[in-house]
């Protein structure tokens, strides 16, 4: 519950962004994000809200951990479970 998850913004409509998380597209709220967000930006998401725009130059470093956590499903991986929970907390999926 302390861990945010980064994703790439695909589309912005008002206070809702469509964000790509490793191929999974979800809608997240932009009510509390720290800076204006545009398609192509990365954002850090927590319980369905973007809490930080991550500079594109630093997104790679931020994504690596999550790629590792989500690469393989290991039973009882509490950290990966939390990341999946975070993704589930985001809004509806898009086709």
């Amino acid at each position: 519950m302390c861990l945010g998850v980064p994703g790439k913004v695909v589309q912005v409509e008002g206070l809702v962004a469509t964000v790509d998380f490793w191929g999974l597209r979800k809608q997240i709220r932009l009510d509390v994000v720290d800076a204006p967000v545009a398609p192509g930006d990365y954002v850090l998401n927590h319980v369905g809200f973007a809490i930080r725009r991550i500079p594109a130059s630093e997104a790679e470093d931020t994504l690596a951990l999550y790629a590792e956590l989500l690469a393989r499903e290991v039973p009882g991986d509490l950290m990966a479970d939390d990341v999946r929970g975070e993704l589930a907390a985001t809004g509806r999926s898009e086709r």
Binding site: C2, G4, V32, V47, I51, T62, L78, M79, D82, G85
Partner: protein, 383 residues
């Protein structure tokens, strides 16, 4: 150039880098010359990463890295759980995070209430609870737990204007004040703090400056990559060795000096800090986040008469009396010194909240083999 500056140049997924950082931490810890040198982190995700990536194997034996009160579910106090249980039994639909379900109150948990017919729904976030309220005429109460990172989501939904049948039972907590309490505890050995990157994303790192000023203990903000954590710990022991207590931010890609001002504005428009007990630890001045008076319509504590006393008659004598969660979260004991750990207290049959939440110290230690000092950094534990 400091060794940390070197470390941050290295590739994050590099076991050689992890070993180099481990060696540097070892060297600096020896130079401090005390055993143990105790530092505390205040984040369940840090403990998960430390256990999962076997980082304790890279720590020198003299460096004690303690998980403090960094699990929001764990520090939700018994009377708060009782309020949730009482509300659910009174017939409202109570929505909350899955981790909260089995946290023991004085007379059972929300899971027990659900088994007895109460309507308790698991949601992943507040927006799902609001959605639930939109689909029904029933009263829906969101039992809100979590630190400031999570509280901003609650604030945002309240400011958006949820439906009339929606209200919030806030058990949100605010981390900075509890660091003061832990530092001031008699017998505390904590010499520095590793602050949680994503909570600091909201508050900014300057929030820790008054703490450093008062207690002369260094605070280092760190991310969640294995190398982020090792680099953070290295900087922390360097600051301890050099007797230069200050705040340092080793997670600049997410944390700034001021933090997320838009989020803070919304947080403090909705909540006010209030003193209250954190389970097993102490009364924490300004440690609880409660709804401000202007939101009393949305405050479940104002909307409903919550009768917790009715629960107490049913309270069975409980193993809870032997639980040392509080001592563990304040860094005075570790799970392996608890008589219940791994015996009466297991993830399936938790006695204390630290065994319930996936961010609880006991749950994490239990998951990773009881005592995760033995993980290995080599052989791909850090990849």
């Amino acid at each position: 150039m400091s060794s940390v500056a070197d470390a941050t140049q290295l590739k994050f997924r590099d076991p050689a880098a992890a070993r180099a950082l481990g060696a540097a931490i070892d060297k600096v810890t020896r130079e401090i010359g005390r055993d143990p040198v105790s530092v505390m982190h205040v984040c369940g995700s840090h403990e998960q990463a430390i256990a999962r990536f076997g980082l304790r194997a890279a720590f020198p034996p003299a460096l004690e890295v303690i998980m403090g009160p960094g699990c929001p579910v764990c520090i939700t106090d018994v009377p708060e759980v009782d309020e949730g249980v009482a509300l659910a039994r009174q017939g409202v639909r109570l929505a909350t995070y899955g981790d909260m379900l089995r946290v023991p109150g004085s007379a059972g948990s929300l899971a027990d209430a659900r088994a007895a017919g109460a309507k308790v729904e698991v949601v992943y976030g507040i927006s799902e609870a609001v959605e639930l309220a939109r689909q029904t005429d029933e009263e829906v109460v969101f039992f809100a737990t979590g630190f400031e990172t999570t509280a901003v989501a609650t604030a945002a939904e309240i400011l958006r204007g949820p439906p009339r049948n929606f209200s919030v039972l806030s058990a949100h907590k605010y981390i900075p004040p509890v660091m003061e309490i832990v530092a001031e505890m008699p017998g505390s050995r904590v010499e520095g703090f590793l602050a949680a990157g994503h909570a600091a994303t909201i508050t900014g790192w300057a929030v820790f400056e008054p703490f450093v000023e008062r207690h002369h203990l260094p605070v280092v903000v760190a991310g969640f990559e294995p190398l982020d954590i090792l680099a953070g710990l290295l900087r922390l022991v360097e600051l301890i060795r050099d007797r230069t207590p200050r705040v340092e931010n080793l997670y600049p890609r997410c944390v700034t000096r001021e933090g997320n001002l838009a989020a803070q504005e919304q947080l403090w428009k909705v909540f006010r800090p209030l003193g209250g007990r954190w389970r097993g630890i102490a009364h924490v001045p300004n440690g609880n986040l409660r709804l401000q008076d202007r939101w009393s319509d949305l405050d479940a504590r104002r909307r409903f008469q919550i009768d917790v006393k009715a629960l107490w008659d049913f309270a069975p004598p409980s193993l809870l009396q032997q639980c040392i969660c509080g001592e563990i979260m304040s860094g005075r004991e570790s799970p392996i010194s608890c008589a219940l750990f791994g015996k009466e207290c297991q993830p399936e049959t938790p006695v204390g909240a630290c065994m319930v939440s996936t961010e609880g110290t006991c749950r994490i230690w239990h998951q990773y083999g009881g005592h995760p000092q033995l993980g290995r950094v080599a052989a791909g534990a850090v990849r």
